[in-house]
Symmetry: C2
Subunit: 752 residues, 2 copies
């Protein structure tokens, strides 16, 4: 019974840590000095901390997190966050409704059965624990009791279908409302063009694009912006920015030194080479002033050169109405569909400039190579994880490393180690992965940051499925014994049915392991997330010792956006585990509900008060999540099929209808819902617009920061006019020219 006590210890310890962290949060978040950390989103928006910061009620934040409306959430945190949080609601509903049947019906049936006892009596090597008695494993083979579990499988499946449809409709409503806003966004008037063929002789790229689109969209095409190769410019521009920052820092240090005793202060000095550690000493302010001047002129020269010489076969094109842009973005333009590929434009802030021009062949080859690399990563990460999972029981560890025996046999340490060791190792391994996968995804040539995030999330999901879920389940048992090793070696005898059987038979024993994993993940993870102790400490240290300027201070508490690429796959892992065990070991539903409920509250608080999204993808994460929920359901159903077979239930074959229906459901969703998230439907695009950005603002938004000229307004030049004049339409122009440009751009220089 050590595993049960280890489980309880793990649960209690994590819960203790969680309570401590929540307590810390409710104290710390009230201190004014910490508001930058706990209310960063509101401070960024210029709104200051909420009422919760001023009351003595330690749970005021909870009320705010729960009762703020979705509309308010979208206003503050954007559609992406709102959709991510609605995903929690969706999962809570699925598990809530599932539990309504599984807990009151299935758990008592299992508890009153005696299979574990019988097996235990026959084979003293088998162990079972208190928790296992509440699971399907305790039900005798082939009895009529299994009908209840069959009904349970159907119940869980249909609850899932029902809730998914309901939430998809809600998500489409939210997205549609956001898209049809009367204040239109720049991306709604734009399309991204990739794979432009080489221009005919004697024609510039700009002329080529203009000619092509003017012919096809004579009434609605307005203008275009050719993408340039920015690498070299960006390198210089970054140096320029760094020099400016250094200058500001040096000036701030000088100012600070003045306020004390000496009214003149001491001018800061630094050494030239190797992080300011060696080389001749120079006056920092003079040095950086010189550098800023020098770099500024270099940037200006390079900007001109880039615009003229570094034009690439990609462009943004702009239309006079949302409808025209939405319609153009969905149509095949060229006879060879791989030329002039048109896409809905990503939001300006999330454009990945370096990927836009990559030709489609290159993108496909890159994708192939990246998927090969991901495959290798998944396989090679599997080896350490398989080893870890064989340490799940400390006894195995001691077998391999006998010198640990003394430590391990000391009671409390034994319990704690047994509870945490494997999970912590697993978590450390997993935490190294996301940045690798983000880099992989960026290499694929994806044009927008949100898509990169989704691609990374998808890769992480494969990883999680194969390593954590399958790896722990199958290999955990395979590596724990020599016989298991042999099974692996004899894998030539593998067949689909034997995998399903193995899958079903190996799942229940690791249920307890997964529940500890879930418990650790949610209590400690969400405690850290809410209390933000790490960012808080970093912020205070930086504030004390490093930050001199206002800007530097701001950067020290800048919260950044949600990291969906790790959040989403982890949530889906928990979802998948719970889905697979929902009927086999229904108690897991309670843990899952607590996990997602705490997650919902904590992350809603963070979305409302802490994180600041960098860009808006229009909720395109939802189809990605949705597919994976359906896959989780599918795997759960397959698992049930296998497990029913092991339990020698003659009607197990009835389960086979469910995976088939899931496939039907998935293709129905793909047809009905996913297109609405890929593109803007024309019905929505045709809604009236009251306030649309003037064309110069749209172009300015799509001009990369490093191409913005500082002291020039050459927008008014004649080159830019050529495109405008020719787009004369007999209808009143929807977009009028405005004189209040947000910032000066060199967009017209593209016309050269």
């Amino acid at each position: 019974m050590t595993a049960t006590s280890a489980f309880v210890t793990s649960l209690l310890t994590s819960f203790g840590i969680f309570c401590g962290l929540v307590f810390a949060f409710s104290i710390l978040s009230k201190w004014k000095v910490n508001h930058n950390i706990y209310y960063s989103a509101r401070i960024t928006a210029g709104e200051g901390p909420t009422a919760a910061a001023r009351t003595r009620n330690p749970f005021a934040w909870l009320r705010e997190a729960i009762f703020t409306s979705d509309e308010e959430l979208i206003r503050i945190a954007g559609l992406d966050s709102a959709i991510y949080l609605n995903f929690f609601v969706c999962i809570l509903e699925i598990f809530g409704y599932s539990a309504l049947f599984c807990i009151p019906v299935l758990v008592p049936i299992a508890a009153r059965s005696r299979n574990n006892e019988a097996v235990f009596a026959l084979d003293p090597n088998q162990t079972y624990e208190g928790f296992d008695n509440l699971a399907m494993g305790n039900v005798e083979e082939g009895t009529a009791k299994l009908w209840a579990f069959l009904v349970g499988t159907y119940w869980v499946s249909f609850v899932t279908y029902f809730v998914l449809v309901k939430h998809y409709k809600k998500m489409i409503r939210l997205r549609g409302k956001e898209q049809a806003r009367e204040k239109a966004a720049p991306q709604q008037f734009s399309c991204l063009i990739r794979d432009i063929p080489p221009p005919p002789k004697g024609m510039t790229r700009r002329e080529q694009v203009n000619a092509f689109f003017r012919k096809i969209h004579p009434d609605t095409y307005m203008n275009c912006l050719i993408v340039c190769k920015l690498n070299k410019l960006l390198r210089i521009w970054k140096k320029h920015q760094a020099a400016k920052r250094n200058l500001e820092h040096a000036e701030a240090v000088y100012e600070e030194s003045k306020t004390t005793g000496k009214p003149d202060g001491t001018r800061p000095m630094h050494r030239l080479y190797f992080l300011g550690l060696c080389g001749p000493k120079v006056d920092s302010i003079n040095f950086y002033e010189e550098q800023v001047r020098e770099m500024a002129s270099m940037v200006a020269v390079e900007q001109q050169r880039t615009l003229k010489e570094e034009q690439l076969p990609a462009a943004f094109v702009f239309f006079s109405s949302r409808r025209a842009a939405a319609e153009a973005s969905q149509a095949v333009h060229a006879p060879y569909a791989m030329q002039w590929r048109v896409f809905p434009a990503p939001e300006p802030r999330e454009v990945v400039w370096n990927n836009l021009h990559k030709p489609v062949y290159e993108r496909m080859i890159r994708s192939g190579l990246v998927y090969f690399a991901v495959f290798m990563t998944v396989v090679f990460y599997m080896i350490p994880i398989a080893l870890i999972s064989s340490f799940t029981t400390l006894d195995n560890l001691v077998k391999i490393l006998p010198f640990l025996e003394v430590v391990v046999n000391f009671g409390p340490i034994n319990t704690v180690l047994q509870a945490f060791l494997p999970q912590i190792a697993l978590i450390i391994f997993l935490s190294l992965l996301p940045s690798l996968l983000m880099a992989f995804s960026r290499m694929e040539g994806i044009p927008s940051q949100s898509h990169v995030v989704r691609a990374a999330s998808g890769k992480y999901f494969y990883f999680v499925i194969f390593n954590v879920f399958l790896g722990v389940t199958l290999f955990g048992t395979v590596f724990s014994s020599l016989a298991g090793f042999q099974t692996l070696l004899n894998s030539k005898n593998f067949s689909v049915s034997s995998v399903v059987t193995l899958f079903g038979s190996k799942l229940p024993p690791v249920a307890a392991y997964f529940i500890t994993f879930v418990a650790l993940q949610f209590f400690v993870g969400y405690g850290l997330e809410l209390s933000r102790v790490v960012p808080l400490s970093v912020y205070h240290l930086k504030r004390k010792f490093l930050c001199k300027t206002e800007k530097e201070l701001e950067e020290a508490w800048e919260p950044g956006p949600f990291e969906y690429q790790t959040l989403v796959p982890n949530d889906i892992l928990i979802l998948m585990i719970s889905m697979a065990y929902a009927v086999i070991a229904p108690m897991i539903l309670l843990f899952a509900i607590v996990y997602f409920a705490i997650g919902y509250v904590v992350l809603r608080n963070q979305a409302l008060k802490v994180y600041v999204p960098e860009f808006e993808s229009g909720g395109r994460m939802w189809p990605h999540i949705h597919t994976r929920i359906v896959v989780a359901l599918f795997i759960g159903q397959i698992t049930m099929m296998g497990y029913m077979g092991i339990k020698k239930f003659p009607y197990a074959v009835l389960v086979i209808i469910l995976p088939l229906f899931t496939i039907f459901f998935a293709s129905m969703c793909k047809m009905n819902y996913y297109p609405s998230f890929n593109v803007m439907s024309l019905a929505i695009a045709s809604e009236d617009v009251k306030e649309s950005p003037p064309m110069r603002e749209i172009i300015a938004a799509y001009t990369p920061e490093c191409l913005v000229l500082e002291d020039q307004d050459v927008y008014e030049s004649e080159h830019f006019e050529d495109a405008r004049e020719s787009s004369v339409s007999t209808r009143p122009m929807v977009i009028s020219r405005s004189d209040s440009a947000s910032h000066e751009t060199t967009a017209d220089l593209y016309a050269l």
Copy 2:
């Protein structure tokens, strides 16, 4: 060596039959009385027989078939036929270039090897034949000679990629030219709308569709035509048509009787019930006149009722320009993508009216059920075919049916039976299938006839792959011995690698069987096709004994269109067999080249002179064929991998690159080429139109025949005007109103 002599007998017999049939053709086609059969397409077009009918040269038709240009072919036989015939050119090029390497290099290598002799010496039960010595099976295991076959595999693959890309470009050019014709077709201005949601209260369907599209396409939307449920009307209408035909027939009979002795003639009489065999006798002319009158009024009443009461949630909508229709057909219109689904309109003649209104859920369920039914068909057809293929050797047949021994042992019968028996059985089985698959495909809810044909062709292809190719290959050997049976029963030990190995090892022995299959198919099949002896006999019989009116005579020789649903899968079966054996037994390439060359000439002749296409799908068969060529290549590469492994060639692993590259190639084609065949690209749609049909003609074209009113022109009614007036655009209308309507329609009644 019986198999070799059987093979030669088969080849010579079929060649003899073929020569006889070609001879018959060159005689018969010159007789004037047969011109309706051999030049039906030209007579339908009002052009009369070609010069070949008048010369004494028996091969004049050959010159005409080969040297007519593609442009001329498209003009006469349409794009679909031209693309089908270009498929033959494509395959000829692939096999021609492949043979350039395989025949002069691989065959001598195989011929100079001694593996078969060695195997034969060791195991007297193994037999090998003269033909087998020219194949890879004769090469010793693990020798360096296998490098040549590896190179051969690469050669064949890259030749295929190259030729496919070249021909895809050609097909796109042909299609683009046809689409961009200055004389625009009605379907280019139309979109098909399906899954229209229920109309809001107090709105007719027509108002609903008008409101929706006018909002989204204010400048270009012109009009709509709501689809009605036609079942009941069609039943009455068909009776009406039949009565009219009967009346005409009776009048013709009466006229005929006049010309002879009696100037008054005898009025034809018939009995009322059971095919005119019992019941009271009536005067046919009076009876049918009365019936025609009666049915005409019933049709008129039912037409009005159908238009008012039987409106369905599907419609055709019409736009003012090709570009607008092309653009609209590609865009998601409604927030829920499964409502208001917009498709490019099929050509008017190929619309499957009864399928248009089927809701998308129903379509998906129907597809699922149909695919299940097809699966069952494939499986249950497999059993007889597996039995047949075990009869491939007569010895097996005698083993099972010993009483045949006397017959079979008679020399000549033995040889002929050995050569033809299994193939004839196979062909009979296969000929029953196409109409079943067409019915299945129509049940899926597909909106256009050409798509039904493609769907049936796809199903036939699955069938052909699983039964003929895999069935004969695997099960042919499995069923031929008890050990094979046991292998089948122990199929739990199946794994992917064992299937590949089995596949590779079982292929070469059945090569000869397949070559006879090919030989029979092409010589006898194409001989029959060219000589048209069956339609010719039927026509002359009908002409003599049945046909009285001009119309009936015309129907007797009406040639119909190409039956792509059987032609295409059979060609692809031959292609697939040849692709799989191209390197293993290179001699098959010669047979394949002869097959496709004869097919090309014969079918080109038929396309130019005989068959009349019923509709034009714009060459959409090509992506369908293309995918299957790529699949054939893929299967060939996998086969080579298996066979190389069997030959214990250490570098067999190098072949693995090829299937991977094929997957890459397939996805490249899917992105680059297939979209151009699904939709009309905007660049092509924006080409200038000189002659576009007036809107009333477009609407008339889309009005089902049974809804055409005979004595009324209510087109001018005010109801129709409402849609037109509201679509006032400031641009000059591309479609002007014409007063020369081709036939009167009741399209306006849709407005009620």
